[in-house]
């Protein structure tokens, strides 16, 4: 009886401490952030938060068209101070655990990220998986609040655009961990994503349908020399960069359809006759959809010279063909494969040359390859690797295999004949 009584008392006591976590954060006390903008003006940090306005009765967006988000901007000497200052102007505590993206103002990025990033690494609420983006040519807060997607939340909208990188390979989804991994490494310089507001170039009707006059684009990449922004890569250069980094797993390659033996391999277009066929229009393009791509990089010393070797093997499917060539013939496919390889090679070389000649920094990690292969020599050149990288010779070798032609063979506007 006594034992049962003690057990009962113990259970009752336990109930009092098992009701929940100490300092539990209820949903109605939190300002859940989905995107954060960080800028610098003078010595002051400006933080802009996109906060989800939780109001289930209103559904995903209001009938008046306004979105279920709030934007709060505060200033402080540090990011943490600016963040905590939100409680002076906003009724909820900022909660960063669901933050999807950090948009960094260009000025801040040029000044150097790392001193301001300590908070993002130290605080348990900040997720290492949040993406980093530099707002090209603008302040982060100029980008904030702008969404031309289906998603109401800009954080989710930008995150989804970055995840869609696999369809074009023209952007770089880099999170905090990846940035720091490259930042600490002597053999590679960090690259992060870019976000930019662009004017819409639609015709009148489209503008009326979508009221926004601008769109956001994540095309390109921001190049850093350690923590400082030094420049950008455009979309094609970014794809070249992604190729070298072996990050192209999907996407497309568009290239001018090569000139081929017309008499043998050109088909008669619908509505034309044999006499009309002269030369292939060079404005006609072929698109190959990448199915699989593997890049193997090597660094070798030949006759005392450092050579960078990039070997790309791509398998793809014929995605679109604008010219009237007979793709059902093996020799045509071979020619297209060569043209595709040439285009990939061109993009890789553009990215390499930009990093070498314009920025003079190794963003591809060849330094790491050199270190792994020639660790003793690396110690001698480690401190001026970027200078050496900007002068070294590179050899790009690309092999493309078009392994499918889709569910049709010859182009739609051609006749196969007999």
């Amino acid at each position: 009886m006594k034992k049962k009584f003690i057990l009962l008392i113990s259970i009752l006591l336990l109930i009092t401490i098992l009701t929940g976590c100490w300092g539990a954060q209820e949903l109605n006390t939190l300002g859940i952030v989905s995107a954060t903008g960080i800028d610098i003006e003078g010595d002051e940090i400006i933080t802009t938060f996109e906060i989800i306005k939780l109001n289930p009765s209103l559904g995903s967006s209001r009938s008046d068209g306004s979105k279920n988000v709030r934007y709060i901007q505060t200033r402080g000497k540090t990011i943490f101070e600016a963040l905590r200052n939100t409680t002076l102007v906003f009724d909820r505590r900022i909660y960063l655990s669901h933050n999807q993206v950090y948009i960094l103002g260009e000025e801040l990025a040029k000044k150097g990220l790392t001193p301001y990033f300590d908070f993002l690494q130290r605080d348990h609420e900040c997720r290492e998986t949040a993406y980093l983006l530099v707002s090209k040519g603008s302040k982060a807060y100029e980008i904030m609040g702008f969404s031309s997607g289906v998603e109401d939340l800009q954080g989710n909208y930008i995150r989804d655009m970055l995840k869609n990188n696999k369809f074009t390979s023209k952007s770089v989804p880099i999170n905090i961990t990846e940035y720091f991994k490259n930042y600490y490494d002597a053999g590679i310089q960090p690259v992060v994503g870019v976000i930019q507001k662009k004017e819409k170039k639609y015709e009148k009707n489209m503008e009326m349908k979508n009221k926004d006059k601008s769109i956001l684009s994540v095309e390109g990449a921001a190049v850093f020399n350690r923590e400082k922004l030094v420049g950008y890569l455009n979309g094609e250069e970014t794809r070249g960069y992604n190729y070298v980094r072996n990050k192209v797993k999907d996407g497309i390659i568009e290239f001018p359809t090569p000139s081929i033996d017309i008499s043998k391999n050109t088909l008669l277009k619908i509505g034309s006759n044999v006499n009309n066929i002269s030369n292939l229009d060079i404005k006609e393009f072929t698109v190959v959809e990448i199915i699989k791509s593997i890049t193997k990089n090597k660094v070798e010393i030949e006759d005392g010279k450092i050579i960078l070797k990039i070997n790309v093997k791509t398998k793809g499917m014929l995605g679109e063909e604008q010219s009237n060539i007979d793709v059902s013939k093996d020799e045509v496919i071979k020619t297209l494969e060569e043209a595709c390889s040439k285009e990939i090679k061109k993009q890789i070389e553009k990215a390499l040359l930009k990093a070498q000649k314009e920025y003079k920094i190794d963003i591809f990690g060849f330094g790491n390859l050199f270190y792994r292969k020639y660790p003793k020599d690396w110690k001698k050149i480690k401190d001026n690797w970027n200078d050496i990288f900007s002068e070294v010779e590179f050899r790009v070798d690309v092999k493309t295999d078009i392994i499918r032609t889709g569910i049709t063979n010859i182009p739609s506007d051609s006749l196969k004949g007999e």
Binding site: C21, G23, H124, R127, T129, T177, F180, K181, D185
Partner: protein, 371 residues
């Protein structure tokens, strides 16, 4: 401690593996040892022979006096007075480790999951659990290892599979190109000097089902413990890179936060924290239990359970004073220095002197033991 309580070799091996793993699993001190580069994992492997070497005296004595605990045979070797003093020292050693593990777990929980929870609440709940486990005795502690070890090991092996796309094993290259033989051995010695769990083995020897398997238990637990710890270690290095792993207070926890499988399996670090807490509770319970056992033995008492609450209270007070004034993981000193000195004295110096004394007085000691 009731010597009729028996634990199997399998149970004690699992217990010692988890005790070792829990350290790597939580704050991974090995990451900051020499050579401090991609070869650290080699230093961890190299620590096996050093661990065996450092533990040889205590292992030899435990084999010789396999019917006695560490505290009991120290009294046989050094005589009553000196033996009691040494026994008291070992009680303090177990208590120091209990305080250290309680403080470490409190810091882990406060830093990662419950920043608002006062340390007194974290530590109290932890010590209530540990005291209850200790009250139940040695057999439940050992049986607990059979339940919790598979769970912890499953977490360790499943998480890398889920987070495989975050792993880049090339960070471990080049192998043995940047580290000298001295660097690696320095690191290996430093790691070996962090291994204190042989004290648990020395206390549990009389309760082993097969005492003759003591050496095999020790070797297996050291080998598999290092293997599992190194696995955790390599995964953290591959996920975060060398420097970021060194920067991180809880590298494997950081890796767990990166896991995202098709936006479907993500934010699963709480499962990892559960295994973390389970392992730490198991380890703290073991050390608390043996601190009471050694205390009871120096007082010649058979029942150690009445000392559990007083010693848990001492642990609570000291941990609170200590933890509320220092960071025990982020700032290495003074905790790491205290632990190092404690291990040096308790595992190397005292057992080594005891071994010499035993060899010099073995005839008399053997006669005394027979009587």
């Amino acid at each position: 401690m009731n010597k009729s309580e028996k634990v199997s070799s399998y149970q004690i091996i699992l217990l010692l593996i988890i005790y070792r793993l829990v350290v790597a699993f939580s704050f991974m001190p090995a990451v900051n040892v020499s050579p401090g580069n991609q070869d650290i994992w080699i230093a961890v492997v190299l620590s096996i022979p050093y661990t065996i070497l450092f533990c040889l005296p205590i292992l030899f004595l435990s084999n010789k006096f396999n019917d006695y605990t560490l505290v009991e045979y120290m009294e046989i070797i050094f005589g009553k007075f000196l033996g009691k003093v040494i026994g008291l020292f070992y009680t303090f050693v177990f208590l120091i480790f209990t305080i250290a593990y309680v403080s470490i777990l409190a810091e882990i929980l406060d830093s990662t999951m419950y920043p608002s929870m006062p340390t007194i609440v974290t530590i109290s709940i932890m010590l209530i659990t540990c005291s209850y486990i200790s009250f139940k005795g040695l057999e439940p502690i050992a049986r607990g290892a059979e339940v919790f070890a598979p769970f912890i090991l499953t977490v360790i092996f499943i998480f890398p599979m889920l987070g495989f796309n975050n792993l880049d094993f090339k960070v471990l290259l080049p192998i043995l190109k940047d580290s000298t033989f001295i660097d690696l051995n320095k690191g290996a010695i430093e790691i070996a000097l962090k291994f204190a769990d042989v004290l648990i083995l020395a206390m549990v020897t009389p309760n082993l089902e097969k005492k003759e398997k003591l050496n095999s238990i020790f070797i297996k637990s050291v080998f598999f413990g290092v293997l599992a710890s190194n696995f955790v270690f390599i995964i953290s290095l591959a996920a975060l890179g060398i420097e970021q792993t060194k920067h991180s207070n809880f590298p494997f926890f950081t890796f767990a936060r990166l896991i995202n499988v098709y936006d479907f399996i993500q934010r699963i670090e709480s499962i990892y924290v559960i295994s973390w807490v389970t392992g730490n509770i198991g380890k703290t319970s073991g050390y608390l239990y043996f601190s009471t056992v050694s205390f009871a033995q120096i007082l010649n008492k058979k029942n150690n359970s009445k000392y559990i609450i007083p010693l848990a209270l001492v642990t609570l007070i000291i941990s609170l004073i200590f933890k509320d004034r220092n960071s025990v993981i982020g700032v290495n000193e003074p905790l790491q220095r205290i632990l190092l000195i404690t291990i040096l004295i308790s595992i190397i110096i005292i057992p080594f002197i005891a071994l010499i004394v035993y060899l010099l007085r073995r005839k008399k000691i053997n006669v005394d033991v027979k009587e």
